[in-house]
């Protein structure tokens, strides 16, 4: 297993190289420049030219790339990922400070997803064609189809505006942020702030997972070994819960790894809507202001999660399916 992980990591290196080249080129080819925000009458063209030289933007792009990549990999140095063009802070430090908030958001959303989607999907499959199934399938389809930014805004509006109005201000969720001022570190307060963002992030995930779980379970229910289990005289609960579920979970388990990048992408939108101070909102801001070092760092991180999500999926596959050995 360790050897497998090692081999896969080595195999991932060219992928990372490819990602870095593409990301770097795309960002530099995209219209706009980090110095654009200084192009106001008060700043003279000479000053702007000095900024361009300071950032190294006048150098040939290949040279820029090489110097970026060679420092980027030296993660043990605090300045490895450069300094934000916006506030001059070391990017690595900014990422490390903001990461826990995003991890908390994604982790909670993922946990909620798994706990809800699996039973719901199984229920829909076991009661195929029933009203229960139709209702679940309809909700899942709608939840999957609705754009997440729209859903986020609805949820924000309902939980943060409509609900307090209805209850005369007694009940409602915070409109923005991760914690209330003066309550830093209060776990309950953190959780309270998570409710709406997690809901909007999880709904799409739950919909996708539930649909997947349903079809996986349906497929397994028609397998010969399920019939064998019934023919043995096992009670229905054991047939479904032991023989069918365990097999139906195999493909779903890989979703665990594969959905991490999706969650990260969703987090960017959700965090922006809820002004949640995580990596996602930071990413959106940095793209808007062409803060190259931050954009590059976060995009590379995104690439990492895709590659390691895939690896995690494959490893989990080997854990749950005895037919697969590494």
């Amino acid at each position: 297993m360790a050897r497998y992980v090692f081999r896969r990591t080595i195999q991932a290196l060219p992928i990372f190289f490819g990602i870095s080249v593409i990301v770097f080129m795309v960002i530099h080819l995209a219209p706009g420049s980090p110095v654009d925000r200084f192009r106001v009458p008060r700043v003279s063209p000479a000053q702007i030219q000095r900024l361009i030289e300071l950032y190294g933007l006048d150098k040939p792009i290949l040279q820029q790339y090489v110097s970026w990549v060679t420092t980027f990999v030296q993660v043990w140095r605090p300045e490895a990922w450069g300094y934000s063009f916006l506030d001059g802070q070391p990017v690595l430090e900014k990422v490390v400070t903001r990461a826990p908030a995003t991890l908390r958001l994604m982790g909670t959303a993922l946990a909620v997803t798994v706990l809800l989607a699996i039973p719901v999907g199984v229920l829909a499959a076991v009661k195929q064609y029933s009203w229960t199934d139709k209702i679940i399938t309809t909700f899942a389809t709608v939840g999957y189809a609705i754009p997440s930014f729209l859903l986020g805004i609805y949820i924000l509006f309902f939980g943060g505006v409509v609900l307090p109005q209805w209850t005369g201000g007694r009940f409602g969720f915070p409109l923005f942020g991760m914690e209330s001022f003066g309550k830093q570190g209060d776990v309950l307060d953190l959780a309270w702030h998570l409710v709406l963002p997690v809901t909007s992030l999880a709904i799409q995930q739950i919909s996708g997972w539930a649909r997947f779980m349903r079809s996986s379970m349906l497929e397994v229910l028609h397998q010969d070994y399920v019939r064998t289990a019934k023919a043995k005289g096992l009670p229905r609960g054991r047939v479904l819960g032991k023989h069918a579920l365990r097999n139906a979970l195999i493909p779903v388990v890989t979703l665990l790894g594969l959905s991490i990048p999706g969650l990260l992408g969703g987090a960017a939108i959700t965090e922006t809507i809820f002004s949640y101070p995580g990596l996602g909102s930071m990413f959106v801001e940095s793209v808007g202001s062409r803060d190259y070092p931050v954009v590059l760092a976060l995009t590379m991180l995104g690439g990492f999660t895709v590659v390691f999500g895939n690896l995690l999926a494959d490893i989990l596959y080997g854990v749950v399916d005895p037919r697969i050995k590494y």
């Binding site: 010969d224 019939r227 023919a231 005289g233 009670p235």
Partner: protein
């Protein structure tokens, strides 16, 4: 390959001595199917997969069920086990075992029959075992469920069963997953699982069809040996008459969801009555016989959604007569031999005349019919 197996004669002798008259219900029968009908309600129409099947299985008797693909053999077996699922439904009939109609049992009572009194081996050895549990686990599960023994006892029973079905190094093999075994081994595991609870009836649905010839012979030998030891009855489904000759005491020939002929195995091979049975027998290649081509029954199995009226076999039957447009009776053509055909026991056209009015034909069919339909 065909007639003349010593074991068969011997067993046939035993059976005759016991004298199991069909449909008599004198207590010698382990299981009786009466007018079983299982239909599939599909979008294109109703498929009458099993349409009025009646036969019985005597204690310790091996009954061979033969017929072409799609004639309803598996569905009959699954109906006995009540494993039919949507869009299928058992719409009529009884399955009587020890005086109880299995079709009327509660789900819980039926679970106690499944795997305990009746075990089933399925047609597909490669996919019938659960890939994520070890073979030992899957056998032990059945033992634990029905015998109420501890997990450890159930496991050692599983190992013992694997030994019995001839799996070498059973102790280690019990801990292996199905994908680590060959098709023949998996079928042995299935047999071990089915027999681990000492059932009174084993339903074996083409247990050897998916296996190659040498393995096939081994599995059949194994089933014979275990049959003697456990004194169980076997319902052996196959489309291989060679297997029937080797294993069965009684034969049921099915065609398009109905039983068209049944009798003891010697009679079927020596004096088949139904033209379909004759056709089946002719299609067996005989050793040393050189024929231009294998004789097969011409024509194809009728589309289950578009069955002919009258005799279902008439489009393929070489003896076809006008009267065959009326459904033929299931008549006793000789003691112990039943056939669903208008031909007289002497293979002559019936006395009512070749083309009687439909009412006359129906009346005649009524008169000749024996078993409840």
């Amino acid at each position: 390959m065909t007639a003349g197996a010593g074991t068969r004669r011997g067993r046939a002798g035993v059976r005759t001595a016991r004298g199991v008259p069909p449909a008599s219900g004198d207590g010698a029968n382990l299981l009786e199917l009466r007018g079983l009908r299982t239909h599939f309600f599909t979008r294109d129409g109703t498929v009458k997969a099993v349409d009025g099947v009646t036969f019985e299985i005597g204690n310790g008797e091996t009954i061979g069920v033969v017929g072409e693909s799609g004639c309803g053999k598996s569905i009959t077996a699954m109906s006995i086990m009540r494993l039919i699922e949507r869009p299928g439904q058992i719409v009529a009939g009884n399955v009587v075992m020890h005086g109880r109609d299995l079709l009327k049992l509660s789900d819980e009572q039926m679970r106690d029959v499944r795997g305990n009194q009746i075990s089933m081996i399925f047609q597909e050895p490669m996919t019938s075992l659960n890939p994520v549990y070890t073979c030992g686990d899957q056998i032990a599960e059945a033992v634990q469920l029905h015998e109420g023994v501890s997990r450890r006892q159930a496991w050692s029973r599983a190992v013992e069963m694997l030994q019995q079905v001839g799996i070498p190094d059973a102790k280690r093999r019990a801990g292996e997953f199905p994908h680590q075994m060959s098709g023949g081994m998996r079928q042995r595991v299935m047999i071990a699982m089915a027999l681990s609870t000492n059932p009174e009836l084993l339903i074996a649905d083409e247990p050897t069809t998916a296996l190659d010839v040498t393995i096939q012979a081994q599995i059949l030998e194994l089933m014979k040996a275990l049959r003697e030891r456990n004194k169980m009855a076997i319902m052996l489904i196959t489309h291989d008459l060679g297997v029937v000759a080797e294993m069965a005491d009684q034969v049921v020939v099915m065609y398009a969801g109905k039983v068209v002929e049944r009798s003891d195995v010697t009679t079927v091979f020596e004096r088949p009555h139904h033209p379909y049975t004759e056709g089946l027998l002719r299609s067996i290649p005989r050793l040393g016989e050189r024929r231009a081509r294998l004789e097969v029954i011409r024509g194809v199995v009728p589309n289950p959604l578009n069955l002919p009226t009258g005799c279902l076999f008439k489009r393929r039957c070489p003896y076809r007569m006008p009267i065959c447009d009326t459904a033929p009776p299931f008549q006793e053509v000789r003691p112990g031999q039943y056939s669903r055909c208008w031909l007289t026991p002497e293979h002559e056209p019936p006395t009512v005349g070749l083309s009687p009015a439909p009412e006359v034909a129906e009346e005649e069919a009524e008169r000749l019919t024996v078993a409840p339909r």
